[in-house]
Symmetry: C2
Subunit: 208 residues, 2 copies
């Protein structure tokens, strides 16, 4: 969310987005009610309609902000080696999702949905998918990465951070952890790096 | 789903479960309606109530069946090496999810939900989590795997197959694939094996 609050209106709009993100994450689009968002913000329902015409518009604004913020974590074009760029991107995603677990849950719900939103499931996520597309494509072109569909990296490695965040309290007694705990996070990040290197390693052979 | 149909009643119960799994996968628990399940089966709503007292009971039966069926893919205790057991388990999960994408979507929705079902989010999934717990714990004990939380393997590698299945049509133009296509599946399976080996490799060092 943009921290800049130009005025009261901008502050209210920001509060609505924050409350809506939590509610969409908790119960999903279909179950979420504008009344509950209004209640969480401490305003009346008509006040939301002043900023967002309807629930779909509000949801779109939330999803748009999630992927823009995630895209902002992408490394600049400076990196010397494709693997450094890939690790920096995955680190950025991990830090973003750990710091904003509501975003992680909304992305999980988006992946579970079969009905493409507005006929295009990547209307907002394309920003983020393009970031990893570009890095993997560069790595393949330079011979640093083995040839592979970039989306394999998304599915196999990008997914991990989403699960790490969403599953922290979902795995039952004795298996829970705090995703933001520095020790747990460092251990998971180290694993994520191992997996990313293994995924793209051009000398990895064809292990069965 | 159990293929055994003792009689008409058992066949109807089976049809209800199949239809319900698709509807819960498509729209989620909150939005799913018993009326729609009845319509899909070609029976009236009261006929469902004869088999399942309410929507929660029906959902529970679907989730129970998913995790029992997934658990049935676990390799027997025969495997010589922990890594073979781990790869066999991951192969079993991948094949199960590719063959039953509705199950993949229901599991994704379960991970996204913050409210533990009946206070225990692993009421049914524990069967499957225990399978991987046991294999990773064995591998660590024998020194074949590096010490790590078994749930790291679930989050980092187990998640991959869920994304591979659910994302097949969700990634936008030029990135779609058919999860069950033999070539795509073989390529993804090879990657999954690389990741599993990298995740547990005791000689993997501390790559940053």
């Amino acid at each position: 969310m943009k921290p800049i609050k130009h005025n009261q209106g901008e502050a209210t709009r920001h509060s609505i987005l924050v409350a809506a993100e939590r509610i969409f994450a908790d119960v999903g689009f279909a179950t979420a009610r504008l009344e509950d968002v209004a209640l969480a913000v401490g305003i009346r329902r008509p006040s939301i309609i002043y900023y967002f015409a309807n629930k779909q518009d509000l949801y779109d604004a939330v999803e748009h902000d999630i992927f823009e913020s995630m895209h902002a974590m992408a490394p600049g074009p400076a990196g010397e080696h494709p693997i450094d760029n890939l690790l920096a991107l995955l680190d950025g995603w991990l830090d973003f999702l750990v710091g904003r677990p509501t975003a992680a849950r909304i992305i999980m719900r988006l992946v579970a949905d079969t009905t493409p939103r507005h006929g295009d499931p990547t209307r907002y996520s394309n920003l983020v998918l393009s970031d990893i597309d570009a890095i993997v494509t560069d790595g393949i072109a330079s011979g640093d990465f083995r040839p592979m569909p970039p989306m394999h990296v998304v599915n196999a490695v990008g997914s991990s951070s989403l699960f790490y965040v969403c599953n922290s309290r979902q795995l039952g007694d004795g298996r829970s952890y705090a995703a933001a705990d520095p020790k747990s996070l460092a251990s998971f990040r180290s694993l994520l790096h191992k997996l990313a290197r293994a995924a793209v390693d051009p000398n990895g052979g064809n292990s069965k």
